[in-house]
């Protein structure tokens, strides 16, 4: 009797213990690391539309700490299955071996649906590492109310974009010394230090006719410190020296009419519709110096090499970045599609201001350098532009930055 009871008790204990791992194995949850600027609801909408038969969990980290968090997670070996990666950082992540190459998963014909700049961002060293959430571009937004009051008409075609000289004339007209600045020539105020600054500051160097580093990523000498690059950087510095731009940290400067023009991307439109519906804005192509230039490269989704559910993780990538998911994502967030088919299909991208963006993406968009040393390149560039904005000598600032870039490039050779 006692023996029988004992056997029954042991069985009752053992069976759940043996069953539970089996039950647990069937429940898959794919985790994605994200941050608040990527609207969670829109990601969820894209995923839900795919009707996947497993769970997806989006884990949000604070904006300014996002990159640190995912790098530490990779280092500690507990990264999420999927991570959002800023385009120019793809090479630095791929080079450390933390990402799974996507070539085996991605159909070639589908990959070629991406616009050229997105294909370029997604690949490094001959392999595909990430799938783009969207593409990006930059325009010069302006305060429509101020322009109308002063009778300023901004061009809407890339070929008619203002020259540097014309831009200076507009700056002179709209500036009210001490009260209103003409332009914020980078994404955030100078008190901020993040990739958004590099993304927009690099434009001025390109518009001057310069390049950041050699195409093979070997050196910055002769590129960042070329006369053309310095011309672009000097023009940027002059905006501050002449009082058209400020180093002061003005919160919501454009929305509060403290700044009349702003170099930014189309996501600003979504932000205004949500948070500042009364802002009267217009958009004009980026001005041109020695050449025209506009931004490209945005956030992508990468798969952790350590993910235990790679097949399911790829399905989530497909759900978000495939034709259907990208349509949902871009319609909701006002971001520019990375897929040519989606760009073609959506009417809103043929209308102002997205027609300007489309034209710029084809004619003038430029990709940030693809190198494992990109974080150091970005920081050196940001520091250089900050120094000249504060009135430091352009040649000295450029020389210092060039040296830092060369040191970083040498370390990854």
């Amino acid at each position: 009797m006692k023996r029988t009871l004992g056997l029954i008790l042991v069985t009752m204990l053992l069976v759940p213990m043996l069953l539970t791992p089996a039950l647990g194995e069937q429940k898959i949850t794919i985790t994605i690391a994200s941050f608040p600027d990527q609207p969670k609801a829109s990601l969820v909408a894209a995923i839900d539309a795919a009707q996947l038969d497993f769970d997806v969990e989006i884990i949000e980290y604070p904006q300014n700490e996002y990159e640190n968090k995912i790098k530490m997670a990779f280092g500690a070996g507990n990264a999420t299955d999927l991570v959002l990666i800023d385009g120019p950082n793809t090479a630095s992540y791929a080079a450390t071996g933390v990402l799974e190459p996507l070539d085996a998963y991605w159909d070639k014909a589908d990959f070629e649906d991406l616009v050229a700049s997105a294909q370029s961002t997604a690949t490094w060293n001959g392999q595909i590492w990430v799938a783009p959430l969207n593409e990006s571009n930059t325009v010069l937004f302006y305060n429509k109310k101020v322009f109308d009051e002063l009778g300023i008409v901004a061009p809407t075609k890339v070929d008619e974009a203002w020259t540097f000289e014309q831009l200076l004339e507009v700056c002179e007209k709209v500036t009210i010394p001490g009260q209103r600045y003409a332009i914020q020539p980078q994404m955030f105020s100078m008190a901020n230090k993040n990739e958004g600054q590099t993304y927009t500051q690099m434009l001025w160097l390109w518009m001057g006719g310069g390049e950041v580093i050699a195409p093979d990523g070997s050196t910055a000498t002769g590129y960042f410190d070329s006369e053309e690059s310095k011309a672009g950087i000097s023009f940027y510095a002059d905006l501050f020296n002449k009082g058209y731009a400020t180093t002061e940290d003005i919160v919501n400067a454009f929305e509060t009419d403290r700044v009349v023009m702003w170099v930014n991307g189309p996501w600003a439109i979504g932000n205004w519709r949500r948070d500042f519906p009364d802002v009267q804005w217009g958009a004009t192509p980026m001005p041109r110096g020695a050449r025209s230039a506009s931004g490209s490269g945005s956030w992508n989704i990468g798969m952790s090499a350590s993910s235990k559910n790679k097949a399911e993780a790829w399905k989530v990538i497909e759900a978000i970045t495939g034709k259907q998911g990208q349509t949902i994502w871009c319609e909701e967030t006002m971001n520019t599609p990375a897929r040519a088919s989606v760009l073609e299909a959506l009417d809103m991208y043929k209308e102002y201001p997205f027609d300007i963006i489309n034209e710029q993406m084809i004619k003038t968009s430029m990709a940030r350098p693809s190198t494992p040393a990109y974080p150091q390149i970005s920081e050196a560039l940001m520091d250089c532009f900050a120094e000249v904005a504060f009135g430091e000598d352009v040649d000295e600032a450029v020389a210092k930055a060039t040296q830092k870039m060369n040191d970083a490039l040498a370390a990854v050779k």
Binding site: K71, T96, A191, V251, P375, E379, D383, K400
Partner: protein, 296 residues
């Protein structure tokens, strides 16, 4: 035999003693000694944060550090901060301690009120002060303009940013050391002060010839701790300025953090941390020696 028995008893007593201190030693070993050893060893590698590994590179990190103008700048910023904060904060804490040590009704309310910054999170303090320093809508400029002083740029100015950060740090910490000085003042026997009064010494003379000398040990403690805190400052540059503008508030700890967690260069960052550790130890030993000599 009596000697063997007393030997056994001594061993037993020692073992009991060791077992009491073992948990504390284990905690110190795991959370302080082991990480410190790791810090020094990683400093000799090119450890990458994301890759989670690194190769031995000898003294390369230490050599490069000495040639790195940004690291040298961060050391300069750190020591400028310390040279300002230590005397100013100590003086404020001491003067307020003397004032709060009077036998007056209602002073305990002010002691509690003044202690609030000390118990508030440094991050919260830094965020609030950042808003107060905002050139457009901050409280500081509102107050300055109300008394006819021109608006200032504070954290947006190369010349003003470091002082602005220093003032925030002093505001946060002075009251903690005021409490330490108060406890030191309470240890001074009343009879000595009464004797000085009888001898005709006024309050100022009493302060400089009685109070200050008798507070020497406490002052040494306060100066040592304040120096270490000032050299290790991280939260204000991280929260308020990102080390800017142009590196003028980029303390060494903030610079090291950036190398390790933004640029993933944990090896070089560990080397810099090791050097900073040695600097702090040397300064503390010097302060201790000077303080001990005066006591003798």
């Amino acid at each position: 035999m009596p000697s063997r028995q007393s030997g056994n008893r001594q061993l037993k007593t020692n073992l009991v003693g060791y077992s009491f201190i073992l948990p504390a030693v284990a905690i110190i070993g795991v959370f302080f000694v082991y990480p410190a050893i790791q810090l020094f060893t990683i400093g000799f590698t090119d450890y990458n944060l994301m890759a989670g590994r690194g190769n031995f590179v000898g003294f390369t990190n230490f050599v490069n550090m000495m040639k790195n103008p940004d690291f040298i700048n961060s050391l300069g910023v750190t020591f400028k901060l310390a040279l300002f904060i230590v005397p100013v904060q100590t003086a404020i804490a001491l003067v307020m301690a003397v004032l709060m040590n009077q036998k007056l009704k209602g002073l305990s309310f002010f002691r509690v009120l003044y202690f609030f910054p000390a118990i508030t999170s440094f991050v919260a303090v830094a965020i609030i002060w950042k808003q107060m320093y905002n050139p457009t809508f901050g409280l500081m400029n509102t107050l300055l303009e109300s008394v006819g002083i021109e608006r200032m740029k504070f954290l947006s100015s190369k010349q003003q940013a470091l002082l602005s950060v220093a003032i925030t740090c002093i505001w946060k910490s002075w009251s903690y050391f005021m409490v330490i000085f108060i406890s030191g003042l309470k240890d001074i026997p009343d009879e000595i002060e009464e004797a000085a009064q009888i001898d005709g010494a006024n309050k100022v003379q009493q302060f400089f010839h009685i109070t200050l000398p008798m507070l020497r040990r406490v002052t040494l403690f306060v100066v040592m701790i304040t120096t270490m805190d000032a050299i290790k400052l991280f939260i204000p540059p991280f929260t308020m300025t990102s080390g800017g503008p142009l590196g003028t508030t980029d303390t060494t700890v903030h610079y090291v953090w950036r190398q390790a967690f933004r640029l993933m260069q944990v090896g070089p960052a560990a080397a810099m941390s090791s050097v900073l550790f040695i600097i702090i130890v040397v300064i503390t030993l010097i302060q201790f020696k000077i303080g001990s000599k005066d006591n003798q």
